[in-house]
Amino acid sequence: MSLEENFPILTEKLTKKFDSFTAVNNIDLTIKKGEIFGFLGPNGSGKSTTIKMLCGILEPTSGKASVLGYDVYTDAEKIKERIGYMSQKFSLYEDLTVDENLEFYGGIYQVPSDQIDQRKEFVLEMADLKGRERELTANLSVGWKQRLALGCALLHQPELLFLDEPTSGVDPLSRRHFWDLLNEMAEEGKTIFVTTHYMDEAEYCYRLAFIFEGRIIALGSPQEIKKTMKEKVFQIQCDQIDRAFQILNQFPQLEEVLIHGANIHIVGAKTDLVKNLIPALLKENKINLLQIKSIEPSLEDVFVSLIGREAREKIRKEFLPCEPPLN
């Protein structure tokens, strides 16, 4: 097998500038056939811009990118025929029925007429929409719409799928169902490039990259990424969690203070500081402390600590010519 067949997406120093603003900054990606690759980052970090370049609808400013062996600069039309795409907004026509939407996407992807019925059947089955072909798309709930949109992107049997925040606004149960579908497809050998800003979804990815301000700040499997974390994470269980968060968040020495479910996470602070300062602070404010313990970082903790460090470095470089005072 050739390099391209093993690696449907290969980029080297891929960069996109809008005037002087760099939206995507020197990105190197090597994505393996049959994997679910997660692209994580907050809003505005350059996820959609990267996808658009890879889909051949946005010309990069510099760098290299090949998708399914085609160069994005010169062979965009060939790429378009062989990829599936789904965006956050689902790209469905709400005034058309389920079947009419499928018919349209089948038409623009030129699915042969002797195969279209069979493919539609498959998609309806997958999306659990059998028997609802004549229903108006507007009347479907968000979860169904999402699966129909995925179905539309799969009609022409692409080997590579780009999903740009496909789960935003979808309820947790449907999201779970959706990820199961993605897993099945990956097992069949499809490659999936998916962006999200839900940290919990990152755990389902085979590998992932954190992107922040256009740059990749971490890349690897969820386990690998967690291992790169040098800083400690403490979990605090206490009463009045919102008030406790407000209080702790005022202390810059505690670095990153996050609410994580029913607990508070402290990322990157020194152990003795945490052990001494926090019980005293909470006691002083009459908040009942139940437990403080050092834990395995979650992906969110890693991301926050990375962004924190990034931000600190940036501030140091730009504003402070000398070493900052120690915490």
């Binding site: 889909c55 378009k80 623009i108």
Partner: protein, 379 residues
């Protein structure tokens, strides 16, 4: 390639059929506007109370008074004897128009010289004034042409070529019933064909931007020109249906004559539609919301089409600058074509230059907006 265009066309027709509002915009609005405009702008005034001040008192001057009576537009209430009375009767308000026949009227007519009637009107109702002097001029023109014709026939000069009265005679016959509706309706058709294709095309594309479905089409193998053809074609069909519908309606309801070639009318209507569809396409590349698209379409297509085309105000009477701008308004040329074909029955020989301009315009607008569309959609 064909499948892809076909898929887009099919989908577009589905949108149209499913949305009752589109159907209303396509069929309801044109018919309603045609009726409204037809009646509002063609308020023909009949039985205008009129007095005559005949300074000639000859058989010909009495004949012209009879023509006025026979037209049905004037009701003769009084014959005046001196100049002072003119003012009195107009001031009284019971008489709206005074027609003065100048001395030497008959002599001038017989010599074939140009004669004029003086029409004095009660200025309190500008409409009546305008109609009265318009009718009076027309009646005089028809009469003097009849006389010229009689004179020519008597003298066996009928076949003399290039003799001006023939031309004059034809002109008076374009609209021999003097019905302003005949003049107005073709104009209304012309302006109705601006807004609907422009606005429908523009919003149909902008809607896909709003719902991000355009993004998906751009990611698909559909080429820009396929998307464009697929989006425009349905509205071209609708434009043609609209044009036929309101033309037929104008003919059946208002009895407006169509004297010229339907083929030439259809062809130039299609060119004109392309101009407007192209404008819609262009608007769609600028606007990000349907609201903005309608506003731009209104300002750039509809307003000039109504005001600067000669539909309401004759181009010749506009300020110099407006006249220059009017050269850029396709409706200006289409109006000449449609009025020519409806009222005068003229053909390519007279209209070729206007049709050529329409052709050049549609070509330029479509090319420019295609270029802009492709440039924008590949960003």
């Amino acid at each position: 390639m064909k499948e892809r265009i076909f898929a887009i066309i099919r989908k577009e027709f589905l949108h149209i059929i499913k949305d009752p509002r589109t159907l209303y915009v396509v069929i309801g609005i044109p018919v309603i506007q045609l009726i409204l405009f037809g009646y509002a702008l063609t308020f023909d005034v009949k039985h205008i109370p009129t007095a005559f001040y005949d300074l000639d008192k000859t058989p010909k001057s009495r004949a012209i008074i009879n023509k006025f009576k026979a037209s049905g537009y004037f009701e003769i209430k009084k014959y005046l004897e001196n100049k002072k009375e003119i003012r009195e009767v107009l001031d009284s308000g019971r008489i709206r128009t005074v027609v003065v026949i100048p001395p030497g009227f008959e002599k001038k007519l017989e010599k074939g010289e140009k004669v004029k009637l003086q029409v004095l009107v009660d200025g309190s109702d500008p409409n009546i004034g305008r109609f009265a002097s318009g009718y009076a001029t027309a009646i005089l023109e028809i009469y003097s042409n009849q006389l010229k014709l009689q004179f020519l026939e008597k003298n066996g000069l009928r076949l003399v070529k290039g003799f001006p009265p023939y031309e004059d005679r034809r002109r008076a016959w374009y609209n021999e019933e003097l019905k302003s509706v005949n003049y107005i309706i073709p104009g209304v058709i012309a302006v109705l064909l601006i807004y609907i294709p422009t606005i429908l095309t523009a919003t149909a594309i902008v809607r896909e931007k709003e719902f991000a479905t355009l993004e998906h089409i751009i990611v698909s193998p559909v080429k820009s020109y396929e998307l464009m053809v697929g989006k425009i074609f349905p509205y071209f069909v609708i434009g043609v249906i609209d044009a036929s519908l309101i033309t037929l309606f104008g003919k059946l309801w208002f009895g407006v004559p169509i004297r010229g070639s339907l083929l030439i009318l259809s062809l130039s209507t299609m060119l004109y539609l392309l101009c407007n569809l192209g404008t819609g396409l262009f608007v769609s590349t600028i606007a990000q919301s349907q609201q903005v698209a309608s506003t731009i379409a209104f300002l750039t297509a509809m307003l000039p089409g109504y005001l600067l085309s000669g539909f309401i105000f004759p181009v010749e009477s506009m300020p110099k600058f407006a006249q220059l701008v009017s050269y850029l308004v396709p409706t200006r040329y289409y109006l000449v074509v449609i009025r020519g074909i409806f009222l005068k029955g003229v053909g390519l020989k007279t209209l070729w230059d206007q049709i050529l301009v329409l052709f050049v315009f549609s070509f330029l607008i479509i090319t420019l907006s295609t270029w802009q569309f492709i440039r924008r959609s590949s960003q």
